[in-house]
Symmetry: C2
Subunit: 82 residues, 2 copies
């Protein structure tokens, strides 16, 4: 298992409720791909959302995000953290 | 105080020790700008580093990163998180 940071663009104006709903949708099915979404942060002004997950692969992360209707624009393995 | 996510590009090959040293350098002077760097994640393959902080402004975050020799390429306020 590796940590991943994925980035979504084009989410201008995202609200707290929308972020929470998107995160809950991911959590509801994440186990089917062995993924766990740990945190998410949103900048409504630039429309950027960052999601931190632990997963077997970037593809597994993307499959969950695609099924819940918010495909990631970038997914980076972040094996180093402090 | 607001949370910020800043992004550094061009850090290909960054090691765990280098990430730790950069983070420690930020921590050593962060109080001078009222900033606290909470976490950092690095992808050595793409050379991307993400830093999560709590700070009074994006400019305060950047002033610390500049003084420690690693200016951020992007800084986003992330007032929403889950």
């Amino acid at each position: 298992m590796t940590q991943f940071m994925d980035v979504h663009h084009g989410m201008k104006g995202i609200t707290r409720d929308q972020l929470q709903a998107a995160h809950q949708a991911d959590l509801a099915i994440e186990k089917e791909e062995g993924v766990h979404f740990e945190r998410a942060w949103a900048d409504p002004n630039s429309g950027t959302v960052y999601c931190l997950s632990e997963a077997p692969s970037a593809e597994a992360v993307q499959r969950i995000h695609e099924r819940t209707g918010h495909k990631a624009d970038e997914i980076h393995a972040v094996p180093l953290s402090v």
